[in-house]
């Protein structure tokens, strides 16, 4: 009887809370517990995955919105959103010229929460812009100056990757907009000096007198599209690049980028 | 587009999304959806309610046109059997009434009721190489019996618009066939292709309020009290319509007057 009473009292919310916080499971997950004191707050950061992104303490001026515009963070978050929605879309999308288009139509017409496509597309556009603004900010605050030269370089590559990601994704719906945007874009490759068959010097690369090395079926553009025009192979290549290749590279470089921010003394500021 | 979005938002705020009837009001069943199509609708009509009556006569102005003798040489039998037969297009009684005119009600009766066809069939006899009666009315799904009282080949060829054509040959004297029309429709002809002069006219109704001026030129229709549009039809002079209102127990008078149109 008395035990039962005890049990009941122990079931009061606060007691319950304490019990839980004492439990081994809880403590194995949340090492520190609710960060009420500054000490605990520091410990949270130290024992937490966020440590990869942020130091325990940051320079006050560095995290002011009016200094960073939070553009880097936004860009990263957009990347995460795109990864997530993109994953969902991959369940419904087949990268073949027969089905690519109708699958998109199905996403629009019949797939539950097909709105993920909208989020993905608009997110991608937003990311392009946010990356640019991030660059502007970093330049305007001279944050590329020593010791951050290298990280700026990484950033530039990430910018390019962002554009490439968007570019490759642009083809996937396989509608007129996509196909011709990519056609125009990829036609440039045709003019690559020496590597494109309409590029300067291409017709200098010949075996002997008259065996050209660079032809419309063996040049940069062909390598890019897997064909002489934007077709099935191009779709597949772009799909693979968009879903696997580029994200991997981008992910890796982002890790480097963030790590270097930490190593190079956190968010920049006047010395 | 946008209005739909707005609707969406409204829904979102008043979480009344799932399972709502969604503006179904704009749809509704067609009239008479209850009835299984051709099956008898509504309660049956009780003839006892026909306490009122419409009667009158079909008058003919001017003197009747002379009816020509029929040339029956095509069939030796008819030559003597139907000797002296004249065409029956316009027959006027001595007191100047027009025979062989159909009289029927076009509207005013309760269409909600189900009017059962009479059990006894209409009989169309062929005698002396002519049809008897020359004009008659019937109800849909009512039996019609064709009888051949002549000792020659007749064929009954009905030319309705809605119903299936009927074309029955009757080679033997005293032969009878029974058929019926399933759709109500206005007057149409029945002919014999063997004897081109033979013809008769009938009409099929979905109600019992119809008759002919027969041999007397008078008619009577007993109806429930009410207001009716009454139609008279003659094979040569065509249609005349009149309206009449009758109370219970009364008999309203409604006569029609035809005349030979100036040639």
């Amino acid at each position: 009887m008395s035990q039962l009473k005890e049990l009941l009292t122990s079931l009061s919310p606060t007691k319950l809370g304490e019990a839980i916080q004492k439990s081994q499971i809880y403590r194995s997950v949340f090492r520190v517990g609710v960060p009420v004191s500054d000490r605990k707050r520091m410990l949270v950061m130290l024992g937490n995955v966020f440590l990869h992104l942020h130091p325990v303490k940051v320079r006050k001026s560095g995290i002011r919105l009016r200094f960073t515009w939070c553009m880097g963070g936004i860009t990263f978050f957009l990347f995460l959103v795109l990864t997530f929605t993109g994953l969902l879309l991959m369940f419904y999308y087949r990268p073949t010229i027969e089905y690519a288009y109708v699958d998109i139509i199905d996403l629009r017409e019949q797939v539950p929460l097909g709105i993920m496509r909208e989020i993905h597309r608009w997110g991608a556009h937003a990311m392009v812009i946010s990356v640019w603004l991030h660059m502007v900010r970093v330049f305007m605050t001279g944050s590329y100056k020593p010791p951050r030269e290298f990280n700026w370089g990484v950033g530039v590559i990430l910018l390019v990757l962002t554009l490439l990601l968007s570019f490759t994704g642009y083809l996937l719906p396989w509608d007129q907009l996509a196909m011709w945007a990519i056609t125009v874009g990829s036609n440039m490759a045709r003019a690559t000096p020496f590597a494109g068959y309409e590029g300067p010097g291409a017709n200098l690369l010949t075996l002997g007198e008259n065996i050209p090395l660079i032809s419309s079926t063996s040049d940069a553009r062909f390598a890019l599209l897997g064909g002489t025009r934007v077709g099935e192979m191009a779709l597949l290549r772009f799909y693979v690049l968009h879903c696997v290749g580029l994200p991997l590279v981008a992910g890796f470089l982002m890790a480097v980028h963030f790590w270097r921010i930490r190593r190079d003394g956190g968010i920049s500021g006047p010395l | 587009m946008n209005s739909k979005r707005a609707l969406g938002l409204a829904f979102a705020l008043t979480l009344a999304a799932a399972g709502c009837g969604g503006g179904g009001d704009e749809f509704s069943l067609p009239d008479g959806a209850g009835s299984g199509g051709a099956a008898p609708t509504g309660p049956a009509y009780d003839p006892a309610t026909a306490t009122a009556g419409i009667s009158g006569s079909i008058l003919f102005e001017g003197d009747a046109p002379e009816m020509s003798l029929i040339q029956m040489s095509a069939d030796p039998y008819c030559l003597d059997a139907g000797a002296g037969t004249r065409t029956e297009e316009v027959l006027v009684t001595d007191d100047g009434k027009l025979r062989n005119t159909m009289i029927f009600i076009r509207s005013g009766h309760d269409t909600g009721l189900f009017y059962a066809p009479p059990a006894e069939p209409v009989v169309l006899d062929q005698q002396g190489c002519r049809y008897i009666p020359h004009v008659f009315t019937m109800m849909m799904n009512q039996d019609i019996t064709f009888r051949n009282s002549d000792d020659t080949l007749h064929n009954i060829h009905a030319f309705p618009m809605e119903n299936m054509q009927i074309n029955v040959g009757q080679a033997v004297q005293g032969m009878e066939n029974t058929d019926s029309f399933t759709i109500a429709e206005g007057p149409f002809a029945i002919r014999c292709d063997v004897h081109r002069w033979m013809n008769s006219f009938t009409a099929v109704f979905d109600h019992p309020f119809h008759t002919t001026s027969g041999d007397t030129g008078d008619y009577t229709i007993s109806v429930p009290p009410g207001t009716y549009e009454v139609v008279a039809w003659h094979e040569r002079y065509g249609e005349m319509t009149g309206s009449v209102t009758v109370a219970a127990g009364e008999t309203a008078e409604l006569s029609f007057t035809y005349s030979e149109p100036a040639a």
Binding site: R59, T141, D175, G185 | -
Partner: protein, 359 residues
């Protein structure tokens, strides 16, 4: 109303638009204390907004602006000017402080550190939530574009690259694909990455300032705003069928034509100047062009090194100096070519179509 539209249509013609924008950029920088202030912003941005809103009543304008894939650019139309203005304002403020000897805005607090948790984490969380809200709203209200299924036989006119590459496509007007599509993009990337190494100015590291690095900033802004963003906007809104120019209020008529009367430098030299026919030998024919190009890349460095770039030359040392000047010259080549085209209908400086080698 129509007259206003016509005026705008004419003003937005590439040559005028680009020139005006450039002037605006430099003038505003010169009088930045006046220009980059809240009052100006409070007038400017609402004005832009109103302008857009009113223009929406024009059918053609509405058509092009509401094309789903152009929506982000409309957003960019506001965002980039805003943030440029914002950063410049900060810079101006900081410059004032340095003049008056008071510490920089950033400096005030640099010493102080705050805990990442909750200050940063929390704000980031809020930013994320708001961004998600924005995205969802956007996605609900504007369905993603989907046109008729791809058809190699039906070439849309105009067919445009994705909007963020339209700058490059716009360059195609002035340069051949191998330059506009391959070399320049490459150089842009290289150039951007090279910035930290050729900009050795130790000042302005980690805070907004203009005075201390006006040269770098102006170069960057010119490159980014004029030669990239503006060209993107131009290519998106003002280029119609056959890549002809159409004012924002003009109907995109496929039949509109533009006379192609551009001539190569060789024509100018041999035919118009010397009044003789063009030599058959390519090398002789294009010799002038080669000289010009070589001269362009060789002489200025020398000259500049002794004159206005003296400082750079000394700070950077020959190698870095020459790289920098080379990159700058490449960047400058675009506006130069534009001007030559606008003024002299100059097509190619070197024109060797036989080898696809045109500059």
């Amino acid at each position: 109303m129509e007259t206003i539209k016509d005026i705008i249509n004419t003003l937005t013609a590439p040559e005028i638009l680009i020139t005006l924008a450039t002037i605006l950029l430099f003038v505003s920088a010169k009088y930045r204390h006046v220009f980059y202030t809240n009052t100006v912003a409070l007038v400017l941005f609402p004005a832009m907004f109103v302008f857009m809103a009113i223009s929406m009543f024009d059918e053609d304008f509405y058509l092009i602006v509401t094309k789903p894939d152009n929506v982000p650019i409309v957003g960019m139309l506001f965002l980039i000017p805003f943030f440029t203005w914002f950063s410049m304002r900060e810079a101006v403020r900081n410059d004032r402080r340095t003049d008056s000897g008071t510490p920089l805005i950033e400096k005030e607090e640099t010493a102080d550190k705050v805990l990442t948790w909750p200050d940063l984490v929390y704000t980031e969380l809020i930013a994320i939530v708001l961004l998600t809200v924005l995205l969802v709203g956007w996605s609900i209200l504007i369905p993603a574009p989907l046109e008729e299924s791809a058809n190699p036989a039906a070439t849309p006119n105009p067919s445009k690259a994705p909007w963020y590459f339209l700058g490059l496509q716009e360059m195609l007007v002035y340069f051949d694909p191998w330059l506009a599509g391959v070399v320049f993009p490459g150089l842009i990337i290289v150039g951007l990455m090279a910035i930290p190494y050729i900009d050795t100015n130790p000042k302005g590291n980690g805070y907004y300032t203009f005075k201390e690095r006006s040269w770098e900033i102006m170069t960057f802004l010119f490159g980014f705003l004029i030669l990239w963003v503006l060209l993107v906007i131009l290519g998106t809104f003002l280029r119609g069928p056959n890549w002809n120019f159409f004012g924002p209020y003009e109907y995109w008529d496929t039949h509109k034509l533009e006379a192609l009367v551009n001539v190569d430098l060789s024509d100018y030299f041999w035919v118009r100047l010397l009044g003789m026919g063009r030599p058959d030998n390519i090398l002789i024919r294009e010799s002038v062009g080669f000289l010009v190009v070589l001269g362009y890349f060789l002489i200025p460095p020398m000259v500049l090194a002794r004159t206005i770039f003296k400082r750079f030359y000394e700070n950077l040392g020959p190698a870095r100096y020459h790289i920098m000047v080379f990159l700058l010259l490449c960047m400058a080549s675009l506006p130069i070519k534009m001007v030559l085209r606008w003024l002299f209908n100059l097509k190619y400086i070197i024109g060797i179509p036989e080898f696809f080698f045109n500059i």
